[in-house]
């Protein structure tokens, strides 16, 4: 998986390219651990990633909680059909800001 970041003040956008699965989710965790300090608006852009398994959902949920605890926001952008299906199946579409 390829991850690219764009930081604008306290806003961070991470673009994911590839599949967010058991083998690749640790890469996202590592990147967020490194980049999330001082960020209060996190956008994860899924335009190039439409496969997310439970390992990916766990990272998203943990990050969501971390952002909330710090009074910040996390949103998911450009969610594709298959990822949307996963979010709906797990009820997480109602938890995350999806657009």
């Amino acid at each position: 998986m390829t991850l690219t970041t764009e930081k604008n003040g306290t806003a961070l956008t991470v673009r994911l390219s590839g599949e967010l699965n058991t083998l690749t989710a640790p890469e996202l965790t590592a990147l967020l651990n490194k980049e999330l300090g001082g960020v209060n608006a996190l956008t994860l852009d899924f335009a190039e990633c439409d496969y997310v398994s439970s390992a990916g959902l766990r990272v998203l949920l943990a990050t969501f909680k971390q952002m909330k605890a710090a009074k910040g926001n996390m949103s998911l952008a450009n969610v594709g059909e298959n990822f949307k299906d996963v979010l709906e199946n797990t009820g997480l579409d109602a938890v995350f800001g999806v657009f």
Binding site: T22, Y51, S54, L57, K65, E81, T90
Partner: protein, 137 residues
């Protein structure tokens, strides 16, 4: 009788890619909708990863996947010789809770149950045998 494809590998996490390549191959040569393809790949990922993490607590073991397609329905069987474990018996997570209240685990098997047309678990001859069935389109 439909052709059955079989792959047996050491039950290691790093084998996940080859298991998913096997799944993709069988689905792609038989024509499968994008949605069903993703749901099936996620299902096999979740179940295979469980085997690598929990089936063999005392050492090395193997995992096998068998796949066949008949009348537009794909069947995958996941087999291992690890300790008996029925993933279908696991309690579902409460998906109505808010984000802060939600637990981190249990979503994998829940997704599998939600997206497959049919699932069956059996422990026979010292092996866990999990069968998944789903329409390709």
């Amino acid at each position: 009788m439909a052709n059955e494809y079989v792959l047996r590998i050491p039950a290691k996490l790093e084998g996940m890619d080859v298991i998913l390549a096997f799944v993709s191959y069988l689905l792609d040569i038989n024509g499968c909708s994008a949605k069903a393809r993703t749901q099936l790949r996620i299902a096999v990922e979740e179940l295979y990863v469980n085997v690598t993490l929990y089936a063999y607590p005392d050492g090395d073991g193997w995992a096998e996947i068998r796949g066949s397609v008949e009348d537009g329905v794909v069947t995958f069987k996941l087999i291992d010789a690890g300790r008996p474990f029925d993933p279908l018996a696991k309690e579902d997570p409460d998906i109505m809770l808010s984000g802060e209240e939600r637990g981190i685990g249990g979503l994998g098997i829940f997704m599998v149950k939600n997206t497959m047309d049919e699932m069956a678990y059996e422990y026979r001859d010292g092996c866990n045998r999990l069968t998944l069935r789903k329409q390709l389109n």
